[in-house]
């Protein structure tokens, strides 16, 4: 049988590559797990559970939340665990944000003292100056980066950046950063709406950034 030879055009419609070629991911950003909210009270990534990897395998982890929709107006938040059960790690954090209403009449940029923590153990809010509303088209998206959560030497720093649909029709960009003030390894991370209600829909993807 004659050998059929392929060229670049032969491959232009491909959307995935074999794992043997790419090592399951074509780059250093490795997808680990996707959680899809469905009237969910919490969304949890815990190392060793449900195929989640959250340990020394990767030095940096990135979580990307897309089109998250709450069941009622509320603030998106997260916490971590060092014992696999209790999500209450001591955290010191900062919070600031910028906003503008749809009418273009109200804008601001500033620090939000109501949402920082000083060695607090509460869930860390990730929305400055407001909360995401529950209108059918209202959602928030963003990302969270955590540095070396498995370290037993250093505190664990993190950075968050998200945009949300705030009350009275505001676009609100929110920046948070901080550190979990523990030298114990962090083994899990949990998200929820901080006030009340569920996460109706949306996805959170956990990625690891390859070490080598």
């Amino acid at each position: 049988m004659a050998l059929v030879k392929y060229n670049d055009r032969s491959l232009r419609n491909l959307t995935t590559a074999p794992a043997a070629v790419t090592g399951n991911s074509p780059g250093a950003l490795v997808h680990i797990k996707t959680l899809t909210a469905s009237s969910s009270a919490t969304l949890t990534f815990l190392h060793g559970s449900s195929d989640v990897v959250f340990n020394s395998t990767y030095p940096i982890y990135k979580l990307v939340y897309t089109s998250m929709h709450p069941s009622q107006q509320s603030i998106f938040s997260f916490q971590t665990t060092t014992d696999g059960t209790n999500y209450n790690t001591s955290v010191t954090s900062t919070s600031f944000g910028a906003y503008q209403n749809e009418g273009g009449s109200d804008t601001d940029l500033g620090y939000e003292a109501g949402q920082d923590q000083a060695n607090g153990t509460a869930f860390q809010g990730l929305m400055s100056f407001g909360s995401n509303i529950a209108d059918n088209d209202a959602a928030f998206s963003g990302e969270l980066t955590i540095f070396n959560p498995s370290s037993t030497t250093f505190v664990k720093h993190w950075m968050s950046d998200l945009n949300f649909y705030g009350g009275s029709n505001y676009s609100q960009r929110s920046q948070h950063a901080g550190y979990f003030n523990t030298t114990s390894a962090i083994t899990g991370i949990q998200f929820k709406m901080i006030n009340s209600g569920n996460i109706d829909s949306g996805t959170i993807k956990l990625y690891g950034i390859k070490d080598s």
Binding site: V4, N7, D8, G27, T92, T94, Y111, F154, A177, G178
Partner: protein, 205 residues
């Protein structure tokens, strides 16, 4: 119709993977890892060229030996020195462990205006055993010989006064020469420990 299965010899004419998002996806390619160990400087002086659209440097738990050190970054633009001219901005959000000092502000002490010195990216570092600085810095199209070279960065670190610092630094190297190297150092003393990783971003050009 029977499935036609390719063999290696059938793919010898392939020179590039498809650019479909699922295959490239703005992904990262690790180029170099440098580990500081009482190092006077950490230097990336290769692999920075036109291969990738942009480059990221990930700084993971860099630690200094004494309080009040400044982690700095220099850009090389063709010579051996890391002294490319820069104009930059620097602002930060901060909050102390005792719940005081929550603030957001621009820091004119840390920015540069057409300066050639090393750029401060984390100042007044804490040196407690568990304190460190972390961040990601991205440099866009460093090999351009037409445009200035923009960069953005965000650092999260422990200030010597036990406060969280969330720093946003950005600017441009105001040169049309290619940027082909980066160097990190403390303003004095060594980088005790820490990991610095250089990534190419996105598909190869």
């Amino acid at each position: 119709m029977a499935i036609r299965t390719a063999v290696n010899r059938a793919l010898t004419a392939i020179t590039a993977l498809p650019t479909a998002a699922a295959l490239t996806d703005g992904n990262l390619t690790l180029l170099t890892t440098l580990t500081a160990s009482s190092s006077s400087a950490v230097t990336f002086d290769s692999s920075i060229n036109s291969t990738y659209n942009s480059y990221q440097i990930h700084i993971i738990q860099a630690h200094c030996s004494a309080d009040n050190k400044i982690l700095q970054m220099g850009f090389r633009d063709g010579s051996t020195a890391y002294d490319a001219t820069k104009t930059t901005t620097y602002f930060a959000s901060q909050h102390k462990e005792d719940a005081s000092g929550g603030a957001l502000g621009y820091n004119t002490d840390q920015d540069q205006a057409q300066a050639t010195g090393f750029l401060n990216i984390s100042e007044a570092l804490g040196a407690d055993n568990d304190q460190c600085t972390n961040g990601i810095i991205e440099i866009f199209n460093p090999s351009s010989t037409t445009f200035v070279k923009n960069f953005i960065g965000r650092m999260s670190y422990n200030h010597q006064n036990d406060r969280e610092m969330d720093v946003f630094v950005a600017g441009y190297c105001n040169v049309t020469a290619a940027i082909d190297g980066f160097q990190f150092k403390m303003d004095s003393g060594n980088i005790d420990s820490g990991t610095f990783k250089l990534y190419g971003v996105g598909p190869k050009q």
